[in-house]
Symmetry: C2
Subunit: 276 residues, 2 copies
């Protein structure tokens, strides 16, 4: 049996980030469908809307099914044009806004670009400072400044420390450093000395030896470094180290950078520095 | 007149990213309200739900208004408990899922953790490769490899190149390098030589001289580097350079990293390498 093919359009006055995030989270609940996702940001005039109608109709013909359209458009007149196309529209904005207006007893501004627009200067600086901190304290660099970190991720090579630090900085404004656990630490069987003064900021990342092996093979195929036996040794050792020193840690085998970051925030009790 | 204070809860089985995105994009449309936002991720059992009911009721008492609750919970029984609290619930999932089920003529999986769960291995590697590329080609480092870049951001110091490159990598899997335009380039009044072979990949970032001055003052207060006159010279020069060499460019004064990135993607015609 061939898979049902469906085209999905994400429509927005601005970046389309909200439309995509919301649409994506709904569509992941449906298996066995082949999605073709098209982001249509900055849909801000009638001419663009009319061209899009043709595109939607064309997709409907090709697929044999009408496309799904997820919209965060604030301008009702543009969405009205889109509704003429052969599609099913899910309107995130209108669906909720009236009842929120009623609850708050005030009208909404209906102005585009607010959701991912420029933050307040303070947030901007916090965000940039956190990014700079992550970049300047990646992979064990400048451990002297670790006392300034909000959190310090530790783990063996390829455990996901760097992307998580960057995500924590960009998304939450958290100053995150990271420090690699190496072969030498393993032989000495102790926590690296530089980490001792900041033990209460440590958070371990671990994963299955098989997954680590898979990731390392991509980097250095058929190396000792990537071998399953080596990965097993390192993972086993680091997990007992985490337990011995009461370092909280997380198994990241089945989760994404977004989830790792949200879980770290939740467990460490760190306060996000950016909102929205 | 004092501002209306309102507490907002974002409820989720998992990270809460979707619930926050939805709530935030709606709430930005209402001015003059002081929001207190509380993210409640991993709300996955009845005991947590009952504790939360008390917390919501307490907030309602303190605020003098009932809290708004944005939920992406998949488990109806947990949300049922929350509905007993003194609050207004906006249920993202149930609001849309039935009509999508009807449209697709199949039931949804209703399984948590899919939206920001682990991507396919291919996407995972693309994402990590893009992050590594951005880290290895920041601030003019390794220009020999610029031919491998999907895009190369250029601009004067503090124009926002680094955070944008990181966001493009993390969010879209785009391999983005960046190269700073310096005082020396300005004196020579030409495009840096190393950029000539990759002219078709260049994208300029500019901003108002006043904003650049503001940002640089934060970094090096009262310096020549941060002076308004210096910022004016550099901005004027780089914009004429962009025009002379037909380098597309963007004024980032009033927009966020998310918007800059989405606009770059839209204008350059680059295809995102990650979806969702």
């Amino acid at each position: 049996m061939t898979k049902q093919k469906r085209t999905v359009f994400y429509l927005s006055d601005r970046t389309g980030i909200t439309a995509e995030t919301l649409g994506h989270s709904l569509l992941t609940q449906f298996d066995g469908i082949e999605w073709k996702k098209i982001n249509v940001p900055f849909l801000d005039n009638m001419a663009k809307a009319r061209t899009l109608v043709e595109r939607i109709n064309h997709a409907a013909e090709c697929d044999g099914y009408r496309p799904l359209v997820f919209s965060t458009l604030l301008k009702a007149d543009i969405l009205e044009v889109i509704r003429q196309a052969n599609c099913r529209v899910y309107d995130f904005f209108e669906t909720f806004i009236s009842s929120i207006e009623q609850e708050l007893q005030q009208p909404s501004a209906r102005m585009a670009g607010r959701s991912h627009g420029l933050q307040q200067p303070l947030s901007y600086f916090k965000r940039i400072a956190a990014i700079n901190y992550a970049l300047g304290h990646d992979d064990g660099v400048n451990p002297k400044n670790f006392t300034d970190a909000d959190i310090i991720l530790v783990g063996v090579s390829r455990a996901g420390k760097t992307p998580t630090c960057l995500y924590l900085a960009l998304q939450y404004g958290i100053a995150a450093a990271n420090y690699p656990l190496t072969q030498e630490d393993m032989l000495a069987n102790q926590l690296p000395k530089v980490l001792e003064p900041v033990r209460n900021k440590l958070f371990g990342l671990t994963l299955s030896a098989a997954q680590l092996h898979f990731i390392r093979e991509e980097r250095r195929p058929h190396s000792q470094y990537a071998s399953l036996a080596q990965c097993q040794r390192e993972i086993q050792w680091q997990e007992s180290l985490f337990q011995l020193f009461h370092i909280p840690y997380l198994d990241t085998t089945h989760i994404s950078i977004e989830e790792i970051s949200a879980i770290i925030l939740d467990r460490s009790g760190l306060k996000r520095q950016l909102y929205g």
